[in-house]
């Protein structure tokens, strides 16, 4: 067993305090145990004239030190010397080892910046360019050696710095992305981030630039390919379907019952085939991230009632009770009616298919505060936890059974989930084996300002590379009774009429007409001066007035128009809606 004396030999200087009771027989382990159990803040060792080190407790150490001032001085000197020596040594060592590392790292970074495919530009807090790598210069259509000033000029020509600060206007935004077309006609994807130090001080901006011309071209090729394939598949199918339909309609004369039976079979299979093509197209579009949706203000409640009516017969013949629970006056959502109907139909069909005779299927819609949730619940076979994980993957069907009958593509739920996600909602399920399933999907509540803002952003994005102007025109109604349902319906009809007529007011493909509420719509007129805008406003006014006078005479609703122009009326794009709302004025009845 090691003794204290032995361990102390290995410790040149130990000082401090520790109450350790020691005698000559105490083992090192015991001493350490005692020290550690006390927290072992410090250990005092005094080396005096004798060769024997003695371990002292705190009081003894203090007393001994006080007796031996010289010894203390000597001890301090020794400590100081050792500390200094070791520090010098370390500094030397550091210089020898790290300096080359630092230099090498810097060189590596420099080389990396030179050879990397992405363009990189660093701006200081005032927006001056501090660094631009060769790739960035090249992408901006400059010589590799072009000086920073020239780079700055090009950026300004592209409206680049202005754009960056423009898109960074909303408080707290620290990064962003936009696309520009450079002089060499290549499409650039630019991402910027604010550079902050560790303690939050702003240092400048960093921009990364990527040439996405080829990527975008490849995407377009893929879309073209899908479109071409679908065309090739659908065209012959249309021919078959039309022929069958014509024979059944009697174009070729009277047909007998057996022939009709065959024709009906052919017609059914044509529909199934068409559905399969549609499913494949949908999943391809969702995967490519370009599922087109045409969003409109719509009521989930009426859609649910509508779809459940369509399924009444099917449910009845399957011996299933189909009920529909819809809260009255649910907030409308902003969605693609056709697509949401597709989701609802799919969920309902599944629910009925997987529920045995005597079961029940219930559809309900409720307001969850921030969004509207639609639920399709059944008392069917249910889905085990394990299967729940797989159910949203492609080509999956619960208990896929062999045998006749319409089976579908197995893409339905994957498509549903995708469609809801494109709308900014989620689709999920709660289920237990043998206890039925509950499928839910949520859709965000309509937010007029957000819808408007999104469309303004689309127009801005399309016009990024040049100075442009635009105007927004808001049409709404003043009603004597806010909650009067017939009045609101009348307003809705007028809005719908205005929407169908909107093509007469539109001049460019960036002009947008959109319904932003039950009884409100907005025209975004792209690239127009005040005069053009006034004439558009006049046209809309005349049409609106004619229609209201013709069909809604004597009804106490007054159309209101408000407009604002960018950049004249709103310094930034966010203020446009407010400006238009402030200027709302009743239409002059002429």
């Amino acid at each position: 067993m090691a003794r204290i004396a032995e361990i102390i030999k290995d410790i040149p200087v130990v000082y401090g305090q520790c109450d350790v009771v020691v005698d000559s027989e105490t083992s090192v382990q015991e001493v350490f145990h005692q020290m550690v159990s006390q927290g072992a803040e410090t250990v005092g060792v005094r080396t005096d004239e004798s060769d024997q080190p003695i371990l002292l407790n705190r009081d003894q150490l203090l007393r001994a030190l006080a007796d031996d001032v010289e010894g203390l001085q000597e001890m301090l000197n020794r400590i100081q010397k050792e500390v200094t020596e070791s520090a010098d040594e370390r500094i030397n060592l550091l210089q020898q080892t790290t300096a080359p590392v630092v230099v090498a790292t810097a060189q590596k970074f420099e080389q990396a910046l030179k050879v990397m495919m992405e363009g990189l530009i660093i701006l200081d807090t005032r927006g001056r360019i501090e660094l631009a790598n060769p790739a960035a210069r090249e992408m901006l259509g400059l010589e590799k050696q072009a000086d920073l000033e020239t780079v700055g000029q090009i950026l300004d020509q592209l409206g680049f710095r202005a754009l960056m600060t423009f898109s960074g206007q909303s408080a707290g935004q620290t990064n962003g992305q936009f696309r520009i077309k450079s002089g060499s006609a290549s499409l650039l994807d630019v991402r910027w981030s604010v550079l902050n130090s560790d303690w939050g001080q702003m240092l400048g901006w960093v921009l990364t630039i990527r040439n996405i011309t080829n990527e975008v071209a490849a995407e377009a090729t893929k879309s073209e390919f899908i479109a071409a394939i679908s065309h090739e598949l659908r065209t012959p199918l249309t021919g078959i379907q039309n022929s069958v339909s014509n024979i059944m309609a009697g174009v070729t004369g009277k047909i007998n019952d057996k022939t009709r039976q065959y024709l009906e079979m052919m017609d059914n299979d044509c529909h199934r085939f068409a559905d399969l093509i549609n499913d494949l197209l949908d999943i391809a579009k969702l995967e490519a991230g370009n599922m087109p949706i045409t969003q409109k203000v719509m009521s989930m409640g009426s859609l649910v009632q509508n779809v459940s009516q369509e399924f009444e017969e099917t449910a009845k013949s399957a011996g299933i009770t189909l009920t529909c629970e819809v809260e009255t006056d649910v907030c409308p959502v902003y969605a693609d009616v056709k697509r949401i109907r597709q989701v609802l139909t799919n969920l309902l069909r599944n629910a009925i298919q997987y529920t045995p005779v005597g079961g029940a299927v219930t559809i309900s819609v409720h307001d969850r505060g921030s969004d509207i949730v639609t639920e399709v619940a059944d008392t069917g076979v249910g889905i085990s936890l394990e299967l729940q994980k797989q159910i949203f993957t492609k080509f999956y069907q619960v208990a896929r059974q062999a045998g006749p009958g319409s089976k579908g593509s197995g893409l339905g739920l994957a498509i549903c989930k995708g469609i809801i996600a494109v709308h900014g909602g989620t689709l999920w399920l709660e289920s237990q084996s043998e206890h039925g399933s509950r499928f839910f999907f949520s859709l965000p509540k309509i937010d007029v300002s957000r819808i408007l803002q999104r469309h303004i952003d689309i127009v801005i994005a399309a016009n990024q590379q040049r100075h442009f102007r635009m105007g927004i025109l808001l049409v709404t109604f003043e009603m004597s009774e806010k909650s009067d349902v017939p009045l609101r319906q009348a307003a809705g009809k007028i809005i719908a009429e205005l929407l169908t007529q909107s093509r007469f007011f539109m001049a460019s493909d960036m002009d947008i007409a959109l319904q932003t509420g039950d009884n409100e719509m907005v025209f975004i007129i792209n690239d127009c001066g005040r005069q053009t805008f006034e004439s558009v406003r006049h046209k809309i006014e005349m049409n609106l007035l004619n229609f209201v006078k013709k069909h809604f005479i004597g009804i106490p609703i007054v159309p209101m128009l408000g407009m604002s122009l960018w950049p004249q009326d709103g310094a930034d794009k966010n203020g446009l809606e407010t400006a238009a709302r402030k200027g709302l004025a009743p239409l002059l009845a002429g």
Partner: protein
Amino acid sequence: MFDFFGLKKKTQKTKILVVDDEPNIVQTLKDRLEMNDFQVTTAHNGSDGLKVAAEEKPDVILLDVIMPVMNGLEMLELLRKQPWGMDPSVIMLTARSQTQDIARANICGIDDYIVKPFDLSELLEKIEAILEQRKTLTKASV
């Protein structure tokens, strides 16, 4: 005599122009539409379609998108620039439900579209709806 003319005017058939490059589709559409008492003319590409439209001044045009020589969108753009070109109602027959096509067609002004393959009865309903709308619009403008 007067009554006779009034009757004739009333029973004058609605003119429909079918423009599609697929002979099978043109044939089946023509047969069915004629059975439903429409007067049907046909063309196999946009450029022929424009010529026939200029001669016939159809009430409704059923217009395919992808066609050789001149496609449906190009034809639509040129059609709407004619002095009489805003009058015909147009239903696009599109094999691809790509929004950019529909969006582009919408700018020129179309009344409806239908995605191939379609139910002929659905197409007939759409035509009836458009004819109904045309009636009210004519009344409104009188």
